[in-house]
Amino acid sequence: MGETFTLYLRLLNLTLRGQMQYRASFILSLISTGLISLFEFGALLLVLIELETLAGWTIAELAVLYGLVEFSFGLMDNIFDGFDPRNFGQRVRLGTFDQMLLRPVPLITQIMGSRFELRRIGRIVIGFAVAAAGILVIPMQWTLWKVVLLPMMVIGMVCFFGGLFVFGSTVTFWTIESIEVMNILTYGGSYAMSHPVSIYPGWLRAFLTFIVPAIFLNYYPTLYLLDRPLPAGDWVAFLSPLVGIGVLWLAFRVFKIGIRYYQSTGS
């Protein structure tokens, strides 16, 4: 296990090299990814100067909700970049996936270590900053449970969306046509859940309960962090990592089946 992780770090090291070759461009890109998250929340913030609340949520509370999603999704986007269906699909089409099959090391490690866009860290940093600002401003009342819940929440979201990526990659073994729909689940889902679910129409709330279970991934946990009432008792807030890890585990199993399919039919 340790050896696999060392391999992952080695692959990552090689992937990162050369990314900062053009300093100015890199820094501008880094700033840009941060600015996107900042502007999105900033727009909300500026309007709320006048309006004060959104569906009963204060700016600080919204910052916590938004920031944690941005932080987690940004983290996922970097860690699972190798499994981004667009990247993986291309790899399969070009035949470089075959090369991975010829190396006596785990495939998943190779795929995860094959991509990591350092410039996207801007999103992770701003997400963290916005969430932290919200936590400080409220100020959030810390308890031991909340300290435990925060990383669990992040893990849950990272694993869930990572799992969606992996599912999408498995589909590319079969066809590259329908993977765009995945964007709705990943980018659309994460965008929607960075705002309070209560503002959405019924069908969208259903989407965010059953398809992209934002309710469990971040909404209930955030309610718990903000000491807001939870519908079914405090324990529902702690389901996030279970949902996330469950989806990721399933996704990897399906991926392994996908590899068998690829080996049976070739490219």
Partner: protein, 328 residues
């Protein structure tokens, strides 16, 4: 070492007829036809052999190679390589083989060659002394030093092939699979690669299976040759046997120093005579090239000449047309 029995690989390809009616029909029910890329082939390769695997494009060479390297699962039949079922025990199997593909590299595109090799050391868990020894040896023999620090994307084709072969052998594999290793290379580069393969096979007893279009590759490297066409194994035996039985006619193209009205000669057929250029066909059994040249030059003044070997496509077509099937 490599045992293949009744191996087949079938692909289902969807067919659509052209035109509006065809498109509509295919929307309702997909029609398929089965392509037999590899059709019931069997062979054994012992440790240390250097075998050539020939055939025209689309014959099934790459498909066979993919099954042998574990990239593809056979439809029917048995494969055993080094005691492994290649696709099943992937990680353990792949650690003991090396593979080079002429069409694309196995190295990391943006990295200097040496970094790729260094990473491979860790991937294949090569002991430090073995790695250093092999690296030094390959660097010397394949003359890698000038471009060890160059990113793979900046290498010429010849340099890239040398780097790929070195990479494939770093971990002392038992078997080396080569898919068109000399394709696109100039004559000097080809020779260098061939020399290296011979050396490796002689010194380390590495089993080598090589697919190629280049008959000279075969002549230089392989004692044993297998020929595949349309998925079927047509020939499996010594190169000398192949040449003797199916060699076909060679050609001698002669540019004369002056115009001759006729240029016929004993032991060869004059196929064409145009503007001081004559083309003769002759077969190995009847005449050697040097005999023929002597005979011609004793009668006519030669300015330049060229010996052309029958290409693999012609030879194979001959084999197929004369329905001469493989021995096991």
């Amino acid at each position: 070492m490599i045992h293949v029995r009744n191996l087949s690989k079938h692909f289902r390809i969807s067919t659509h007829s052209s035109g509006m009616a065809g498109t509509l029909r295919s929307l309702i029910s997909r029609q398929y036809r089965t392509v037999k890329a590899v059709d019931n082939i069997s062979f054994d390769i012992n440790a240390g052999e250097l075998v050539g695997y020939l055939g025209p494009n689309g014959a099934g060479k790459s498909t066979t190679l993919k099954m042998l390297t574990g990239l593809l699962v056979p439809t029917t039949g048995d494969i055993s390589v080094n005691g492994h079922l290649p696709w099943k025990t992937r990680k353990r199997y792949v650690a003991r083989i090396g593979a080079v593909f002429g069409q694309r590299t196995t190295l990391w595109w943006d990295l200097p060659v040496i970094d790729s090799l260094s990473l491979l050391q860790h991937i294949y868990r090569i002991p430090a002394d073995t790695y250093q020894r092999n690296l030094a040896k390959f660097t010397k023999v394949l003359e890698l030093s000038p471009f060890l620090d160059t990113p793979v994307r900046s290498l010429s084709l010849g340099q890239r092939m040398r780097a790929d072969i070195a990479a494939a052998l770093l971990h002392d594999p038992d078997i080396l699979f080569l898919d068109e290793p000399t394709i696109g290379l100039d004559v000097v580069a080809k020779e260098r690669i061939r020399e290296f393969i011979l050396q490796v096979n002689a010194e380390r007893k590495t089993t080598v299976l090589l697919t190629t279009h280049d008959l000279t590759d075969v002549e230089r490297l392989c004692d044993r040759v297998m020929i595949i066409d349309q998925g079927k194994l047509l020939f499996d035996g010594q190169l000398s046997q192949l040449r003797a039985r199916f060699g076909g006619k060679r050609e001698l193209v002669v540019d004369f120093a002056e115009r001759y009205d006729s240029a016929s000669v004993v032991g060869a057929d004059l196929v064409s005579l145009e503007n001081q250029r004559a083309t003769y066909q002759f077969s190995r059994g009847e005449t050697t090239a040097s005999e023929l040249i002597q005979r011609i030059s004793s009668q006519y003044r030669i300015r330049d000449l060229e010996v052309r070997e029958p290409d693999i496509e012609t030879t194979i077509r001959r084999i197929y047309e004369e329905r001469l099937l493989a021995t096991e």
